[in-house]
Symmetry: C3
Subunit: 341 residues, 3 copies
C-alpha cells in the first residue's frame, strides 16, 4: 500500500546531506534496534549510540559527529529527530478522503462547504457553518450552528463542535473530542444551583492538535482560547474562559479548571491538574500527576505528590505525614532546649 521513496528523494524532501546510495529504496521507518533492511532510522539520543553499528536499517538520520560510526547510508542533520518526524509524513497511512459530501451526511442548506473539502458519512453540519479549503470532516462528526473551520483541518470521526466554535487552519481533532460544551458554572441560591448560561465560545488557532476524548468548554462571556501550535493529548479537560499560549504541550488526562491562563511553550505532564483562576508563566513544565495549586511566575520545572513506594512502607510514611506538623514542633523544642543548655 505504501509507496517507497528513494533515499535521494527523502534527502531532498528533508534538505539533509546524503552520504551513500541515493537510489536505495526506503519503504518505512524503524527504530535503530528494530529496523529491517529497507527502513530508515535515526539517532537522536546518545543512549542508543551502541546500536548504530549493528542496526539493520538501510539508512540512518544522524548528526555529523556520529557519521563515521556507521556503514549504513546516512542523512546528516543537526536535528535528526525533527527530520525523522518530517519523514514520518511520507509514510503516513491515515486514509485520504476524496473531496465531496457523502450522501448520508446531513448538511444544512445554510452551511458553506468548500468544494475541495471532504464530508464523510453520517456527518451533521448545521446552518451557518463554514468549512474551508481542503478540510476533512470524517464519519459521524457534528458541527454546530455557525462554527467555522479554516483550511486543511481534519476532524477525525465522531468529533463534536458545538455552535459558534472557531478553528484556524491545519487543525487536527481526534475522535470523541468535544469542543464548546457549556462551561461548568452555577450560582447557589440557598436551595438549588442556578445554571449560568455560557455565552462565549471557543477560539482555536492554527496548527493545533487535539486528542481523542478531550473536552474544551465554551467561555461564560468571552471565548476560551487555544493559541497557535498548541498540542493537546487525549482526555484532557480545559475549563471555560481559559487561555493556552502558543506551542504549549498538554499531555493526556490533564485537568485544567476554569479561567486558567497558561503561557507559551509550557509542558503540562500527563494527568496533571490546575485549579481555577491561576496563571502560569511562559516556559513552565509541570511533571506528571502534579497539581498546580498556585500561580507560577517563573519558567522552570514544578512538581507535587510523593514518590512511589511499597504500600507497606508507604502506609507508615502517610501516618507520619499526618503527624508532620507536630514532629516539626517537637524538633523545634529539642533545638531550643539544646540551645538553652
Amino acid at each position: 500500500m505504501i509507496k517507497p521513496y528513494t533515499l535521494g528523494e527523502i534527502a531532498s524532501f528533508l534538505g539533509t546531506r546524503l552520504v551513500g546510495d541515493g537510489r536505495c529504496e526506503i519503504s518505512g521507518l524503524g527504530t535503530l534496534g528494530g529496523a529491517s533492511p529497507g527502513q530508515l532510522s535515526f539517532l537522536s539520543n546518545k543512549v542508543y549510540l551502541d546500536q548504530l553499528a549493528t542496526s539493520q536499517a538501510s539508512a540512518i538520520i544522524l548528526e555529523e559527529q556520529f557519521a563515521d560510526r556507521s556503514t549504513a547510508n546516512l542523512l546528516v542533520s543537526d536535528q535528526p529527530y525533527v527530520c525523522f518526524a518530517r519523514a514520518s509524513s511520507l509514510f503516513a497511512v491515515a486514509p485520504a478522503l476524496a473531496p465531496g459530501i457523502h450522501p448520508s451526511a446531513v448538511v444544512d442548506s445554510g452551511a458553506s462547504v468548500s468544494e475541495s473539502a471532504s464530508i464523510g458519512p453520517q456527518v451533521v453540519i448545521e446552518s451557518g457553518v463554514l468549512v474551508g479549503e481542503g478540510s476533512i470532516i470524517e464519519a459521524g462528526c457534528i458541527v454546530g450552528r455557525g462554527s467555522r473551520l479554516g483550511s486543511n483541518c481534519r476532524l477525525h470521526s465522531r468529533v463534536t463542535l458545538y455552535h459558534d466554535v472557531k478553528l484556524g487552519d491545519h487543525v487536527i481533532i481526534h475522535s470523541g473530542a468535544v469542543i464548546g460544551a457549556d462551561g461548568f458554572g452555577f450560582a447557589f441560591d440557598g436551595e438549588r444551583l442556578v445554571k449560568i448560561h455560557q455565552l462565549g465560545s471557543v477560539d482555536i488557532g492554527n496548527e493545533v492538535e487535539i486528542g481523542a476524548g478531550t473536552t474544551i468548554d465554551r467561555g461564560t462571556i468571552d471565548d476560551t482560547v487555544i493559541e497557535h501550535g498548541v498540542k493537546i493529548d487525549n482526555q484532557v479537560q480545559i475549563g471555560h474562559n481559559s487561555r493556552v499560549g502558543e506551542h504549549t504541550v498538554i499531555c493526556g488526562c490533564t485537568a485544567i479548571a476554569g479561567s486558567a491562563m497558561i503561557g507559551k511553550h509550557c509542558v503540562l505532564g500527563g494527568a496533571s491538574g490546575m485549579v481555577g483562576h491561576l496563571h502560569i508563566a511562559d516556559g513552565v513544565e509541570v511533571t506528571a500527576m502534579s497539581l498546580v495549586s498556585q500561580s507560577i511566575t517563573e519558567a522552570g520545572l514544578y512538581s507535587s505528590g510523593t514518590g512511589q513506594m511499597k504500600t507497606s512502607d508507604w502506609k507508615r510514611a502517610v501516618v507520619r505525614f499526618q503527624q508532620l506538623d507536630s514532629m516539626a514542633h517537637r524538633l523545634r523544642k529539642i533545638e531550643k532546649s539544646l540551645e538553652d543548655n
Copy 2:
C-alpha cells in the same frame, strides 16, 4: 441574532428593584471590568468593588449596601450572582430546535416520542423508549431500548443512553457522555476474569446536568442513582451502584469508584477521587485532586496530596517522605534521651 431587552423587562424577570432608566436597552452580559455599554454586569465579590466606579456596563446588579457607589443603572438584589445566572438565560445562544423528528433519525416503531419533542439528525431511538414533552435529543444521540426521558430534557449531540436508563425532567447531558455502560465487575477464577453482567441500570433525578464525556455506569443488581439537582462536570466517572445526593457538585475529571454513597450538597473538587464502598456525609467538600480513601462522617473540607514545589526542592522532600517513619523514630529517640538526662 440576540434580542435586546429593556432593563425594566430584566428587572421584572428577576424580581429586583430597579434604580435608574428602565428603558435602557441591554443586549448582553459582561464582567465589571470587561463590560461595554449596552451590557449588564454584577458585583458579587468585594474584591471587585474598585471596578464599580469605572465600569462601562450600562447596568449593574448589586447589593443595597453598594448602591450609592455607582452612577450606572442598578438592579438591587440580595443575591447578585444568582440574578446574574438567571439573567444569563435571557441571552443564551444555544440553538433552539423545532419539534419533530429529523428524517435521518432512526426511531423504532415501539418508541413513544412526545409531539413537542425534537429529535435531531442521525439519532437512533430503540424500542420501548419514552421521550417526554419538550425534550430535545440532538444529532447523533443513541437512546437504548426501554430508556425513559422526562419532560424538557436536552441531550446535546452524541450522547449515549444504554438500555433502561431513566432520566427525570429538565435533565441536561452534554456531548459524548455515556450513561448506563456496564459497571466494572469481574470474578477471578484462578486463571481468567469472569464478567459479572450488570443487571441494574441508572436512575437520574430532575434538574441534573451532566458534562461532556462523563460516564455513569449501570448497577450490578440495583440502579446507580443520581438524585435531583446534582451537577456533574466533564469527564467524570461514576462507578456502578453509587448514589450521589441531591444538589451535590462534582467537578471535572473526578473518578468515583463503585458503591460510593455521597451525601447532599457536597462539592468534589476537580480531578478528585474516591475509592469504592465509602460513604461521604452531607455537606462535605473535597479539594482538587484529593483522594477520599476513608469514609467521611462529618461535614467539612478535606484534602490530600502535597503542595506544588520547584521540582529540584520537591525531589529532596520526596526522598525525606520515604524516610519519614525513620525520622519519626529518631526524633522520639532523641526526646527520650533528653528526658532521661
Copy 3:
C-alpha cells in the same frame, strides 16, 4: 421480560452441587441482604456471614463449610463469587441484536461482514474491514479502513476504531471508546512542534473488555498491544507503543503514558498513573491515584500520595512537607551534637 430458570437448571449450568429443591424458580440475582424470594444470592466474603440466616434469597451459592448455617436452597462451590458471575450471564438484559445490516448503516463494498454479524443503525464501515462471525456493531460505531474484528465481538454504540485496528475474538468495547487515534508524538524544531505520524496500529487480544470513553493510541512504528483477557474500565488512556500483559485489570481513569510495558495479572487502581517508558513486572498492584514513577521489578503492592485529612490540618502538613529536607538536616545535626557529647 427475563426468563426464570429452575435452580436445578442453574446448578447444572454452573456445575455445582445442589442442596434443596431443584424445581425452585429463580428469576434474578440479589445480594444476601437485599435479595427477595425468587432470587439467587451468594456468600463469598465472611463479613456477610451474619446475613446468611436472615437472607430472603430462595437460594444461595456458598462454600461447603457454611452449608449448615443456612436453611435456604444451596449451590455448593469452592468459588461462590465466580459462580455468581457465571450465573449473572443467565439474567443479562443487554438487548440482543438480530444478524444483518441496518439499512441506515454505510458499509463499504470492499468490507467483508459475516452473515451472522449484526450491524446497527448509522454505523459506518470502511473499506477492507473484516467483521467475524456473530460480532455485533451497535448504533453509531465507526470502523476505519482495514480494521478487523474476530468472532463474537461486541462494539456498543458510538465506538470508534481507526484504520487497521485488530481485535481478537469475544472483545467487548463500550460506548465512546476510541481505539487507534494517533499517539502523542512531536519533535520540537526550535520554533514549533512537528508531528510524528503514527505508522503502527493497535492489536487487541481475545476476551478483552474496554470501558466507556477509554482511549488506546496507535503505535509510532510498531503496534500498541493489549494481550488476551485484559479488562480495562472507563476513561482509561493508554499511550502509544505500550503493551499490557494478559489478564491485567486497569481501573477507571488511569493514565498510562507511552511505551509502558505492563506485566500479566497486574491491577492498576482507579485514577492511577504511569509515566512513559517504564516496565511493571507481573503481579504488581498499584493503589488508587498512585503514580508509578519508576519501573517496578517485583510483584507486590505499591502506592504514592498522602492520606486524606481535614484541610485545616492538611495545610500545616503541606507546609512541613516543603520543609522536610531541612527538618531532616536539623534532626541529623541534633543527633550529631548528642553523639559528640
